[in-house]
Every structure is written in C-alpha cells, then in structure tokens.
C-alpha cells in the first residue's frame, strides 16, 4: 500500500520530466561536484551551497515542466516589461562594482535584472511571433529586432558585454527559427564586420584590453594577459589524460583565477585532461541534441522558437565559456553552464530546462 503510494508519488514527480535531459544533466552535475570539490580546496561549504540552490532550481524546473507552454507564454510580456523597467532603474540608481553598474539593491540582497532578460527576452519574441504567426510581415521582424535591441543596449551601457551578447544571441535565435531571411542574416554579418572599427571605438578600455590580450596574451603576461595565460597553462599541462582529480598544481597553488566560477573549466581540464574535455563536450552535445529533438517536435510556433532558442543558448554558454578559458575567445563573464558555481545562473539555466521539458512533453489537446 505504501509502496503503491510511493510509486504514484514517483509517477507524479517524474511524469513532467524528460528522462534523457535528466540523465545528461545528472552526469554533468556529478562531474561538476567533483570539480567544485577540487576547485574549492576540498571544502564542503560550496558543495553544500551548490546542492541547496540546485535543489531549489530543480523544484522551479519541475513546476515549469508540468506547466503548459501556452500558460507560461502568457507571462512573457509582463516579465519583459518589468525586466526592462528594472534595467532602466539600474541606470538610475544601480550598484556599481568594478566600474560596472549591473545591480539593483533590494536592501537584503542585490539582483541583476539582466539575468531575468536571459529568459524573458526569447520568451517575449517567441510570444510575439506566435501572436502574428499567420500573417507575418517583414516589419514584424523589425519590431522583434527592436524588442531585442532595447534591453541589449541597456545592458551594453552598464557595461556588460558578456550578458549583452548572450541575450542578443538568445533573441537572434528566435528570429532565426522564425525564418529571418538568410539574406538579412548574412547582410547583418557583413554589416557587423564593417562596423567593427566603430564598435572598437565605442568599447571601454578594459574591453579593448580583453580583445587585445586575446590576440596576444603574452603582450601583458603579468597584467591583463595573466589570467588567460595561467588557465591555458592549466589546460595544456593537463595533457591527454589529466593530472588526476585533486592533483592540479595550477588549481591548488592559486594560479587559476575565479576557479569555482568562470574559470572552472581550467580546473576540470587540468585534472581530467583531454579525455575529460571530450566527455564534457559530448554531454553538452547530447543535451543540445535532445533539445533540438524537442524543438523539432514542438507543436506550436512559440514552443519551437522558445525550445530552439533555449537549446542554442546552452550551446552558446558552453562554447563561449570553454572558448574563453582555452584562449580562443575574449574573456567575457560567462559561466560554464550547469558546472560553474553560482546560484542565479543555475536557476536561470534550470528555468530554461523546465520550459524545454514543458515544450517537449506530449500533451493531449
């Protein structure tokens, strides 16, 4: 009798969830615990925190997963508007740290409104296209583009190049799956290339420095290039097989900056080597593949666009993070999805996952 109760409860819990995604995420989660334990100097404090916020994120994910996408969709415009207002509020009186104004103080805590936009923006664009699904005109793309550029511009001004790029990407993916003409896409790429010098001038000194040190980190080995050189040394010295768990010298002698957050991949790569990297990349690829399967099977316009955008965003997060830590992309503050330590980023990722699962769930109309 009780076993039946448990069985039913289990059925209730697992029913909205996507088995494949749970499996891949579970494996990544295990890896992330191993690497976090090593990166945090074998302390359980961060592990405990991670378990706690992951549990919270899972609950949110579960709730979203069992909610129909059309219901969730209804919240998109109000959240977008609130997010936009908060972004404006940040400009009016935000909290400035390291020269960037990204936070709003709520007294007991600080929130970063740009994080909300990571989800709210693609949702809104997807909602918008769903709304005008049957008679889409070219100017709908223009409006969508403006809806994207508004928050992106506000975030760029903070300045926060990393988040702005991610949000721009998330919005663009929706446009892409909504059928934005290839001509416009390539035209945009060419226009972007042509406007690089202008963008260069608009960049802040520290951003210019980041780009310059990306091109040649050795030009400033003790200054701006230091972090990237140290993380490249960590990855390179990990070799094909890695130095072994808890044996990374770069990690344990404090040479890797931000080693539980943005640079956790260097820690992982040093200790688990090329093999470990391939496993991690494979897991991301599996998650993305599953995400694209859900996208392909999505029944509504909103579902397709949103699932596609979420999946491609996961890819962008993973690629940008690993790319910057291994020195092929500039250092922008992008965490490694599902691995880096950090509550807000994780919750956002699981919100995305929850929505993905909600879209992927076959429902009877």
């Amino acid at each position: 009798m009780s076993s039946q109760l448990i069985k039913r409860l289990w059925q209730q819990i697992k029913d909205p969830l996507d088995g494949w995604l749970m499996l891949f995420l579970g494996l990544i989660f295990l890896l992330s615990l191993l690497v976090l334990y090593s990166a945090s100097g074998q302390s359980f404090a961060k592990i405990d925190n991670k378990l706690a916020y992951t549990a919270l994120a899972l609950v949110i994910m579960w709730v979203l997963a069992r909610t129909r996408p059309q219901v969730i969709m209804q919240f998109a415009p109000p959240i977008y508007i609130v997010g936009l207002l908060l972004l404006i509020a940040v400009h009016v009186h935000g909290v400035t740290v390291n020269g960037s104004t990204r936070w709003l103080s709520l007294g007991f805590t600080r929130i970063q409104p740009s994080e909300i936009m990571k989800i709210a923006l693609p949702m809104t664009i997807a909602w918008f296209f769903q709304k005008y699904e049957l008679n889409l005109r070219w100017w709908h793309y223009i409006i969508a583009g403006m809806l994207i550029m508004l928050p992106v511009a506000l975030i760029l001004k903070q300045p926060d190049l990393g988040t702005a790029t991610l949000i721009l990407a998330a919005g663009f993916f929706v446009l892409f799956f909504a059928g934005l003409s290839w001509r416009v896409i390539f035209g945009g790429v060419v226009a972007f290339g042509a406007s690089l010098p202008v963008i260069w001038h608009m960049m802040h000194d520290y951003q210019q420095k980041r780009v310059l040190t990306l091109i040649d980190p050795m030009s400033d080995p003790l200054g701006a290039g230091y972090h990237i050189i140290q993380s490249m040394i960590a990855i390179g010295s990990g070799g094909p097989l890695g130095k072994g768990w808890l044996n990374g010298t770069q990690t344990h002698l404090d040479y890797i900056p931000e080693r539980t957050t943005d640079f956790i991949f260097a820690v992982y790569s040093e200790e688990f080597g090329m093999i470990g990297n391939l496993i991690l990349v494979a897991l991301y690829l599996l998650i993305i593949s599953r995400g694209l399967m859900i996208t392909a099977r999505a029944q509504s316009m909103y579902g397709r666009l949103m699932a596609g955008s979420i999946t491609l965003s996961f890819f962008v997060y993973a690629f940008v993070n690993m790319g910057m830590v291994s020195g092929i992309l500039p250092v922008v503050g992008v965490p490694l999805p599902f691995v880096s330590y950090g509550g807000t980023a994780t919750v956002i990722l699981f919100i995305g996952t929850g929505m993905l699962m909600s879209i992927g769930k076959p429902r009877n109309k």
Partner: protein, 653 residues
C-alpha cells in the same frame, strides 16, 4: 475560402520544411564549433603538452637562494674586525604591488620613513628590474618590525626579512685595511655575469667594494644554497621540496694586531699620515694605518650624497689610502739604501772617511746643495754619515755613483714597484732611472727626457724624482732588517673554513734573497743603530731602550726651498711644510717588527715621526702602553669571548 486555407496549409508545410532546414543548419554550425574547440584542446593538451608542463612546473617550483654568511675578519689574536649582525629589513617587490606610492604612504604610518630612505629607495628602483626585491628601510626597530609583520596581509609584495648586516666595530681605524661592502651595482653585476658567478650571487645584495672585503670577496662570500619550494601564485612558499645548504664564507685571520693598530692610531692623534708595521719573520702586516680614515659603516647601504660630498671635498682626503697609494719623497730614510748601493758599487768601504761639508757644489756650477747642519760634520765614515744624516756626504756619493748604479740596487728593496700586498690599487711610485725619465717626459720633448748629471744629486738624499709609498718604505726596511730576505707583505695570514675549523695559511715563503754580502747588511744596520745613539739624529728617542733598535729619520721636502733662503716651518703654509719620516726595526739581531711612519707636514722626522715608532715598539715588544694615550685606547674585547660571540652569530643564521 478553401483555397486560402489550402494556401495557408501549404505555407505551413513549406514553413515546416524551412524550419527543419534551419534546425539542421544550426546543428551543423554547433558541431563545427565543437570541432573547433576540440582542435584547440588538441593543440593545447597534445601538441603543446610539454611546453605547458614546463610552464606549470616553473610556476610551481621556485628556487629560493639561501644566503651564505659572509666570513668574518679577525685580527691575529682573534678579535673580530668585521662582523655580521641580524636585523629586520622592510622590502618591496614592485611588480607585485599595484599601487606603489599608496603602499609606501601606508607603510609610512607603520614605520618611520625618512626622506633619505625614500630617496634611496627611488634610486634603487631606477637601477633595478621590476621583479627584484628592494629594501625600503633597513634596520627596523623590533617594534617597527612587529607592527609591519602584524599588518603584512594588507600589503601584498611587501616583506619583512631578517637579514645579516656587516659591521666594522673599529670604524676609522680599520677603514683602509678592511675597506667595506656595498650594494652590487650595475657594473659589478655585469662583471659577475662575465665571470659566471651570477648563480652564486643570487639573492646576494652586497659585494666587497674596497680593501680586504674586495680582494678576498671570493673567500668571504661563500657558496649560495638553494631551496626548491612549491609556491602559490602569490609567491608564498607552500612547502619545501629539496634543500641544498649554503656554504658559509671563510673567515680571514689577519697578521694585523688591532691593539697595535689602536696604539698607532692614537699616537697619530689628529695628525695626517701613514704607518705600516711589518713582521720581518714572514712579511705579515702588523699595523696598517692611513690617517685620517673614515667610517666604512656608512658606505654599506649607500652613502647619502651629502656625507659623500663632505668626505670627498675634505682637504685632508680621508678616503685616500695613504699607506697604499700616497707617494712621498722618502727624504733621508733613503740613505741606508743609498749606502747599500755605494758599498755594492765598491766606491766606499766601511771605515773609509769622506768629507761631510756644509754645502755641496757641483763642479762647474754655482748651485749650492745644502746640508741640514750648515757647519758640516768634517770627515766622516759612511755609518756616521747615516747617523748624523749628512746630506753633502750623500750628494757626493750619488754624484760618484751615477743613477745607473743606484736604481738597480735600490730597486731590489722593492722601492718603485708594487710590493704585492693583498690590497688593490697599490701605487708604484717612482724609482728614478734614465729609462724612467725618458718615458715619463716622452711627451715633453727630447731635452726634458735626457738624464742630466745634476738629477742624481738630490736623489742621493731621497729627494728629486724619488717617490715611494709608506708601504714600500716599510717593506724596504723590512728587507734590510731581514738581511735581504724578501717576503710579500700580507694582511691576511690565515683563511679559516668556518665549518671544519680548518685553517689554511697564505704562502709566506720568501720571494727571494738579495745577493749582497752579509757584512754590508750588518754595517748598514749598525749605522741605523747609531742613528738612535748620542750624536745620531734619532738620539732623543733612543734613550732607555730595553731592546735593540735601528732606525732612520727623514724629512721630506714638499716644496723646493729657494737658494739662500732658510727653511722656516712656521713661515711655510701647513700643506707645504715638510713631511716627517721615520723607518725602524727592532730588535736588531732578530727583528720582530719593522715600521715606516710618515706624518704629513709635521716637519722634522726625528721629532714628529720617530717617537711614534719608538712608543709603538715599546708597546709591541714590552707591552708598555704609552702614558700619553693610555686613556684614549679603544676597549678591545678579549679574543676568547669574541670568538665565541662570532660563532654564535654564525650559528643563529
């Protein structure tokens, strides 16, 4: 209506198709990007694996030099003349400090930073590379060291280090013997690099600059040790992997007797001059004084420009090592060596009587070469001529000998040549000869180059072109006292390995034996004994001797006195007054000490210089402390205690 619906459906289908195409495009793009990422991993982790492994190792392991303790310098009885003491230093590594000025300003609230400290730091900063550690303040008080240590976490790149400092407790008294150490400068760094010694000087800040500290640098420095430590990114040592201990520098044990040096120093008082005392049995230098001296301690950590200017501009030239580099005409102290030349040439024999008139006039000239005693001494023997220091006698002797028969013999006594003492920068002086004059005046023209017959006359009494250092004179009189046995004068007698306690003495075998008959040595030495006997120029200091002593007074003319004018010390400005000379040795039979003393601008040698030698001998041979300076002598600790203290210093570091 149906048509429209159909078109919509058709559109929907083509839209569907297009959507699937885009999915595939996106998927391919992502796969491509992952391939790019993986090729980056292959590059870093497979192709460049060795390179990055080396970098990680270099990151992790740093070689920390462990400095050897610099060897001590001890006097012949084991009294420490140069020692090390430990003190705290506040040191900064500029490239680990983000805001140097702010850091210095904040440190200024913890320790007292004088403008001098800041100025010196700035100078060091300009001279050094960014990653080098530079002292901001040396010799912190215990309180200051504790205050900084308690706040050190606030200042990355700032360290308080216990370092050994050099100290010369006898200051001025030993400045021209020991020299001093100082911070290694760019030129010295280059030199170390050229000599392949850079490794051994890793972590070393100081190097011997002058004196024994410079000459025996290789002995004193020791061999640096290394510790392989694992360091974190902040440069903090995590654990030691391997340790190669340093080998401390060797101690130098000198022939010098600091108590004798002290007595000599006090006997000079404030007068300028030099004194060199040599042990004739092996050439060991017992006392080596140049007055005035300077305090070498103020040079160690970079002298401030004001003190430097003062020392440099001082008319008394305290920085000049007079004993080593001062060249003076020897005056009548030259006569015993002239006598040797005359005897060897066979132009006079012991017992031969010759005139010693009031004036000497060259044949065919009206120029009068004067005698000290204007009435002359009648007919005298060579020994008597030395005892009364007859100038006219020696003018004639020199005239008869000619320069070609003087310089070779006198040169054998080491005059006009480096003695080979273990100090750098020894002056050569001038041993006059035809060749020397031709060379010396090569630029001036043929008439100046030619040796003139009259040139030799004043050389006979130690004037003219003659110029020698006090060290050369001491060495020459030592050779005389030794009956021609020549040693290399040396300050360092033993080099002591601190660890094993093994002592290695320097080579004290005689360099050569002058091939002159013993009878001549005996005769000249007898003459020098007569100097101190009644009727001799040094009779005043010859009374009450409890040992036998031989000497020769000398008065070196600084400026030429015009014909017909009598030299009057009080009418001559101080710096133009005659230098007082005295050379001596005792006991005559088996000499234990030989000395050359010069007191600058002090006038008559017998009055100014001879008493110094006599009192010095009394102290050295009988232990009698001169009454006049008894209360001025430096308290010199008992060697036994000193040696223990010295080994303690070594042991604690």
């Amino acid at each position: 209506m149906r048509r429209a619906k159909l078109t919509a459906l058709k559109n929907l289908r083509s839209e569907e198709h297009q959507f699937q195409l885009r999915l595939i495009a996106a998927y391919c793009f992502m796969l491509l990007m992952f391939v790019l990422l993986i090729s980056r991993f292959v590059w870093l982790q497979v192709v460049q694996y060795q390179h990055f492994t080396t970098l990680a190792q270099n990151n992790r392991i740093s070689l920390v030099p462990i400095l050897p303790n610099r060897g001590l310098i001890l006097d012949r009885n084991g009294v420490v003349l140069a020692q090390n003491y430990s003190s705290y230093t506040l040191e900064l590594t500029p490239n680990k400090i983000t805001n140097l000025n702010a850091t210095i300003a904040q440190l200024g609230t913890l320790v007292d930073l004088t403008p001098r400290d800041l100025k010196r730091f700035k100078k060091f900063l300009e001279d050094s590379k960014d990653f080098e550690t530079i002292p901001l303040k040396v010799k912190l008080s215990d309180e200051e060291a504790a205050r900084v240590a308690a706040n050190i976490w606030r200042f990355p790149g700032v360290e308080v280090k216990a370092r050994l400092f050099r100290d010369y407790p006898y200051r001025e008294m030993t400045s021209h013997v020991l020299g001093y150490i100082g911070r290694i400068n760019t030129a010295e760094k280059q030199q170390l690099d050229d000599d392949d010694k850079t490794t051994n000087y890793r972590g070393t800040t100081y190097i011997g600059k002058t004196g024994l500290e410079a000459v025996y640098e290789d002995q004193l420095h020791g061999t640096v040790g290394f510790e392989e430590v694992e360091t974190d990114s902040g440069g903090r040592a995590i654990r030691s992997l391997k340790r190669t201990p340093p080998v401390n520098g060797n101690n130098l044990k000198l022939a010098l007797d600091i108590r004798l040096q002290d007595v000599a120093d006090k006997l000079f008082g404030n007068r300028r001059g030099a004194l060199v005392a040599i042990d004739p049995s092996d050439g060991g230098v017992l006392a080596f004084l140049s007055k005035p001296g300077f305090d070498p301690n103020q040079f160690i950590d970079g002298i401030d420009s004001q003190t430097w200017t003062t020392l440099n501009a001082d008319w008394q030239k305290p920085l000049v090592n007079r004993a080593l580099r001062g060249i003076y005409p020897p005056g009548s102290t030259f006569k015993p060596f002239m006598a040797m030349a005359a005897l060897m040439a066979g132009i006079i024999k012991p017992g031969d009587l010759r005139p010693a008139p009031g004036v000497f006039v060259l044949p065919g000239s009206s120029h009068q070469f004067r005698n000290d005693n204007p009435r002359g001494n009648g007919m005298v023997t060579l020994d008597k001529a030395i005892a009364v220091s007859s100038d006219t006698f020696f003018y004639k002797l020199a005239w008869d000998l000619g320069i070609d028969r003087i310089s070779p013999i006198v040169g054998q006594f080491g005059l006009g040549a480096k003695t080979g003492i273990d100090l750098d920068g020894e002056a050569i002086g001038v041993l006059p000869s035809k060749e020397w004059k031709a060379k010396r005046f090569a630029r001036a023209g043929a008439i100046y180059q030619k040796w003139l017959p009259a040139d030799v006359v004043s050389i006979g009494i130690g004037q003219g072109f003659n110029s020698y250092t006090p060290l050369q004179m001491a060495n020459a009189v030592t050779i005389l006292a030794n009956d021609g046995k020549v040693f290399r004068p040396h300050l360092v007698e033993n080099i002591v390995d601190v660890k094993t306690g093994k002592s290695r003495s320097v080579d004290t075998t005689p360099i050569k034996q002058l091939p002159y008959p013993q009878a001549y040595f005996d005769y000249v030495k007898m003459a020098m004994q007569e100097v101190l006997q009644p009727g001799g120029t040094g009779a005043a200091i010859g009374t009450g001797l409890t040992y036998t002593m031989a000497g020769k007074t000398g008065t070196a003319q600084v400026v030429a006195i015009k014909q017909g004018v009598k030299y009057n010390a009080s009418a001559t400005s101080e710096q133009n007054r005659d230098h007082a000379w005295f050379v001596a040795f005792a006991p005559v039979d088996k000499p234990k000490i030989a000395v050359a003393v010069i007191v600058e601008n002090a006038g008559w040698g017998a009055a100014a210089a001879a008493p110094i030698a006599r009192q010095l001998f009394d102290f050295y041979l009988t232990g009698k402390v001169p009454a006049s300076i008894a209360d001025q002598l430096t308290t010199i600790p008992k060697p036994a205690i000193v040696q223990k203290a010295a080994s303690d210093v070594v042991a604690t570091h």
